[in-house]
């Protein structure tokens, strides 16, 4: 279970070996077995005792602090590597050489595949929008093919890749906007702060996803700070932004669902001078729906796993590949999938 603390003035402490939350300054106490909690997310002013931190450490629970947009700003977790340093050394090599290109292409390719798969589903359920969806399909396929023609070291081609990704992204979100109820359609992607309701909700989803992927990186022994593709893009050298590309689709699916089924309405948002904030009720709707969605099973490399475990499986797979140095095998795999 994921525990979200949203009440101002809550106090997190340990009593009788249980994680105990005093809700609000004078509120009641709730007690949880550490075995039942996966992560604790703290979104508003709260106090926390050091006992909780060591209990969480023993039980592999991470404590994540989120800002009001839902972006994770800090995490308390054990200071171990998760695996061997050899993976990180390999990662450094890959982040600069030709192999980096291969992996960068692999991430983007995976993203395009996810998008195509989803569009296929959308065409079936939304016959009214068939035309625009098919146009989008063509655009993505065109760019997906051009991915294979990109060659060189990652430094040389980074901008080309980001360009391909960007032009698909613009088309993609333009189409998604047209699928939304009219009052929620939007111009373009915006963040920090979002300029409209859809972007605000999507950013909040991405925030949850981001912390999931970061945890998966550490568990797989991959350094979340050594990015392959995203280096210049976000002031932060971050592998998490590379890896999150493979699972962003979950956030997009969930957000579109919430708006088109009217689970989120105008009352769940608050207009500010330069952007849009999500009200507490809206956040609750998003968290509840998205965590249930991430808990659903999917087919992955011939196994049934939950969506939320996909990043860890995929990253462990990558890390193993780096360790075994089985590059030929990777090439084979890539050709099969492209």
């Amino acid at each position: 279970m994921l525990l979200f603390l949203v009440t101002f003035g809550s106090f997190l402490h340990v009593r009788d070996g249980l994680i105990t939350v005093k809700i609000g300054e004078k509120g009641e106490e709730k007690r949880f077995s550490p075995k039942k909690i996966e992560s604790i997310f703290i979104t508003s002013g709260a106090a926390i005792s050091t006992d909780v931190i060591s209990l969480c450490y023993e039980n592999n629970i991470d404590i994540v602090f989120l800002n009001k947009f839902g972006d994770p700003i800090s995490r308390v977790w054990h200071s171990k590597l998760g695996s061997t340093t050899l993976i990180r050394k390999k990662q450094l090599e890959i982040s600069t050489g030709e192999t980096g290109t291969k992996y960068a292409r692999y991430f983007i390719n995976k993203k395009f595949e996810n998008q195509l798969e989803w569009i296929e589903k959308l065409i079936k359920t939304r016959p009214n929008h068939k035309n625009i969806l098919q146009n989008l399909q063509e655009t993505i396929i065109k760019h997906k093919n051009s991915l294979n023609e990109v060659n060189g070291t990652i430094e040389e081609i980074r901008n080309t890749l980001l360009g391909i990704e960007g032009s698909v992204g613009r088309e993609y979100f333009k189409t998604i906007s047209q699928l939304l109820p009219e009052s929620f359609q939007f111009e373009e992607r915006s963040r920090n702060p979002a300029k409209d309701e859809f972007n605000a909700a999507l950013n909040y989803h991405y925030g949850i996803l981001y912390s999931l992927v970061e945890k998966a990186c550490i568990l797989a022994g991959i350094d979340p700070f050594i990015g392959i593709m995203h280096v210049d893009n976000y002031n932060k050298k971050s592998f998490v932004f590379d890896a999150i590309e493979m699972v962003r689709i979950y956030a997009e699916e969930s957000t579109l669902y919430l708006f088109s089924n009217r689970k989120l309405g105008k009352k769940d948002f608050q207009k500010l001078q330069n952007g849009v904030l999500i009200e507490d009720n809206g956040k609750k709707t998003i968290i509840e729906h998205f965590t249930a969605f991430l808990d659903e099973p999917i087919r992955y490399r011939g196994r049934n796993i939950k969506r939320k475990h996909m990043p860890l499986f995929e990253l462990r797979h990558l890390a193993n590949e780096w360790l075994q140095n089985e590059r030929e095998q990777f090439e084979k795999l890539e050709i099969e999938e492209v």
Binding site: M1, L2, L3, F4, L5, V6, T7, S10, D16, G17, L18, V21, I23, K30, R31, S33, P34, K35, K36, K283, K284, I287, E288, T291, A292, L294, D295
Partner: protein, 109 residues
């Protein structure tokens, strides 16, 4: 696996001490107290074994320390199938069925 744990521990001074220890163990292992001497929760087989061993040892040690009342201590573990659990009927104050069967994936407080 969903299990019910039901116990009777003598209300003597030593008995109270044993009961407190058992309650603490059951709660940390992830069970929820739904009545004074009834716990329920979704735990795995290893955790059930861990709990059983803990209780056995506690009683054995009590007997070794001449706590004669421990002779009538009893702790029963009933596994229930998911289907049967869904059909539970509650009269009066209810417990949170989704919570104890781990159906709640995110809790916002």
């Amino acid at each position: 696996m969903i299990v019910y744990i039901v116990y009777d521990i003598e209300s003597t001074k030593a008995g109270n001490r044993r009961r407190n220890k058992i309650v603490k163990k059951l709660e940390t292992i992830g069970l929820y107290r739904i009545q004074k001497s009834v716990f329920v929760g979704n735990i795995n087989k290893n955790e059930i074994d861990e709990m059983a061993v803990f209780c056995e040892r506690l009683i054995k040690e009590a007997l070794k320390n001449e706590e004669r009342d421990a002779l009538s201590d009893k702790i029963y573990i009933f596994p229930v199938s998911q289907e049967n659990f869904e059909n539970v009927r509650m009269i009066g104050e209810e417990f949170d069925k989704d919570m104890v069967s781990d159906k709640i994936k995110a809790l916002i407080i």
